[in-house]
């Protein structure tokens, strides 16, 4: 990787000598927000908050910067993040300071349609909002902590874009980016991606091979049916690094399988934009790695005796079928933004309601609020850990 970066640096130096017309820019956002989370007293997965050690109160100050320098053939971008966060729960207070590059990239146009890039890139795609089945790296889109943005993967990428309708890229994933879980299953992986676009449609095909996992195959597509209606879908076929098998017979113990069996995940969705610019999206997800209603029920029964195994090795979604509805304001509106989300786990009947709102207080300052309200008991996925969570904050645009 270092050799590649050095080679790219040499190329950049040559290109920059030839192309002296550099344009530079920077901007940033300063965030300050506080969160209060009410945990379940009767949690099966996290009794007394001893397993997960979740924060009940937190205050965060975070600076997110965007730096860019480019000329006709080279583009350098970086997104440094500096944050300080204080978290409190019944066991005490924790202070955590961080400074890292969330994303960065050196992109060089090497020839007609060819680009080489090295950096930390968020390899996420597809039109779905609830989850991203067509990306093996970011299935949950960062939903587990909506305030924390996704960190890219350290990647070297070669792309060919011969025309507006198609592009092909091949990437070597050197490792997952900052803060990745260890062991890093994506270290030294390969990614191949094809994208095609037509008048009213677009689709992409994905294949990823990690050293210790069977290949991942994914696809995503969308069709603009009319000015108002869009239909879309995403697919993924994969094996998880570790799969916690939960037999429907609760008398049987947990079995952890590494890697897990190959399963398919599919999402279909439709989005309708109204005359006033608001839109309503409905998505249905079938998660092959999740549990049936009986398996999920057995999972919670076993979790009473082994909550650390149940929570630590839990599948990315517990259920097998989900319905997700999003009603949101026009994303193009500069005066503010709101979003209401409803999710139902069709396997266990639990629901989650969430709302996000942002309003402009001044030219550079906005206030935002996020509330998550799970509905169900301690043996249903969405309400297994939390009763509610509320985040309030301010963001200031720089400069």
């Amino acid at each position: 990787m270092r050799l590649v970066v050095l080679a790219l640096s040499a190329f950049v130096a040559t290109a920059s000598a030839a192309e002296s017309d550099w344009r530079t820019s920077w901007d940033g956002t300063l965030y300050g927000y506080a969160n209060s989370t009410s945990l379940r007293d009767d949690s099966v997965l996290n009794p007394g908050n001893r397993v997960a050690g979740l924060a009940q109160h937190s205050e965060v100050a975070e600076l997110r910067l965007n730096l860019k320098a480019e000329n006709e053939s080279v583009r350098l971008t970086a997104r440094p993040i500096i944050s300080t966060r204080e978290q409190r729960n019944a066991y005490g207070t924790q202070q955590r300071n961080e400074a890292y590059l969330s994303r960065w990239q050196v992109q060089v146009r090497t020839g007609e349609g060819w680009n080489v890039a090295a950096g930390r890139d968020v390899l996420n795609w597809g039109p779905a909002q609830f989850r991203s089945p067509s990306s093996p790296f970011y299935f949950d889109n960062g939903r587990s902590d909506p305030m924390r943005e996704l960190v890219g993967m350290d990647t070297l990428k070669l792309s060919l874009t011969p025309d507006m309708q198609s592009s092909v890229s091949l990437a070597r994933i050197v490792r997952s980016g900052h803060g990745a879980a260890q062991p890093d299953v994506w270290r030294d992986s390969w990614l191949a991606k094809l994208d095609r676009r037509g008048d009213e449609w677009a689709y992409g095909l994905v294949a990823v091979k990690a050293p210790n996992l069977p290949a991942f195959y994914g696809a995503h597509g969308q069709i603009t049916v009319s000015d108002a209606l869009m239909l879309y879908g995403e697919l993924g076929s994969s094996a998880q690094a570790v799969a916690l098998q939960s037999s429907a017979d609760a008398a049987q113990p947990f079995v952890a399988q590494a890697p897990g069996p190959r399963r398919s995940t599919a999402l279909v969705g439709a989005s309708h934009a109204f005359e006033d610019g608001t839109s309503l999206a409905a998505e249905y997800l079938h998660e092959g790695h999740g549990y049936t209603a009986a398996q999920e029920s057995a999972y919670f029964q076993r979790a009473v005796a082994a909550p650390d195994i149940a929570l630590g090795l839990a599948p990315r979604l517990l259920g097998r079928d989900y319905l997700h509805l999003v009603w949101q304001s026009n994303l193009m509106d500069e005066r503010g933004y709101w979003r209401l989300m409803f999710t139902r786990n069709l396997s266990d009947g639990g629901n989650e309601i969430a709302a996000y709102g942002e309003t402009v207080l001044g030219s550079e300052i906005s206030a935002f609020a996020l509330a998550v309200l799970p509905q169900g008991d301690a043996r249903q996925e969405f309400s297994a850990l939390l009763q509610r969570s509320v985040t309030l904050g301010l963001k200031i645009a720089l400069p």
Binding site: D27, D195, R197, S226, H272, M332, E334
Partner: protein, 245 residues
């Protein structure tokens, strides 16, 4: 001899007919498109956008647009809190990206920009490719003789279904447009100014500098001022979602 004379006369009349035939509406439209970015290898411009809806004045915006034919990328430069947001349009597909966003969001054509400007208005104009044109006559507009063209949409991805377009006879640039719905209802009126110039095929041609769009149904107006215009080839990768970091 008389026969030869008659044939010559008829031939001359025929030539006269073709020489003084009504101008071709499609050619006029195609030529006028160039002054609004159409038919060029690629164009980069900066737009200052100011909108008013009744008594409410929206925050001014500054947008950098890169466009080739039906494809465009509009990057917000101001206001600061939206800096770096990009709206990518390829054919009828649109996506919105913002720094830090987990992935690009598909946008429906109905979710236009704020104010009266649609996504089609900020991109290069390719009316000759998107509309069938019919010459309806000539009129004088602000003392300038104009062709009046009726444009009917050829396909669904156009922003407007029908346009009545006034094109200067002398300068061959669009001076005024009326935008209509399918039912024939007037939606908006636009006026255009051409204080910019660009070089194309070795010639200096006028180029759009200002567009004022008025809503026909409510008291609302959007003004777009076009500056720092550059004609240049733009790589297809600039319109590739996977490379927009």
């Amino acid at each position: 001899m008389n026969k030869i004379f008659c044939v010559l006369i008829l031939g001359l009349l025929g030539l006269g007919n073709s020489a003084f035939a009504a101008p071709d509406a499609h050619s006029i439209l195609k030529d006028s498109d160039q002054a609004r970015g159409g038919g060029l290898a690629g164009i980069v411009w900066e737009i200052r956008l100011a909108s008013r809806d009744g008594g409410r004045v929206d925050e001014p915006q500054r947008i950098l647009v890169k466009a080739v034919d039906d494809s465009s990328v509009a990057e917000t430069l101001e206001p600061a809190r939206f800096k770096g947001s990009k709206l990518l349009q390829v054919e009828r597909n649109m996506w919105l990206t913002r720094p830090g966003l987990s992935k690009p969001i598909p946008i429906s054509p109905r979710q236009r920009m704020s104010g009266q400007a649609s996504n089609g208005d900020i991109a290069a104009t390719n009316y000759a490719g998107d509309y069938d044109a019919q010459l309806k006559g000539t009129e004088t507009l602000d003392g300038e003789a104009c062709y009046v063209l009726d444009l009917a949409a050829k396909h669904k991805r156009t922003t407007y279904d029908r346009i009545r377009y006034w094109i200067s006879v002398k300068r061959v640039v669009g001076l005024k447009a009326e935008f209509y719905s399918v039912s024939g209802k007037l939606l908006k009126t636009a006026r255009f100014e051409y204080a910019n110039t660009i070089e194309h095929d070795g010639k200096r041609i006028p180029f759009i500098s200002k567009m004022v769009i008025r809503d026909a149904l409510v008291d609302a107006e959007t003004t777009m001022e076009f500056g720092t215009v550059k004609v240049k080839k733009i790589a297809a990768s600039e319109f590739d979602l996977g490379q927009m970091q």
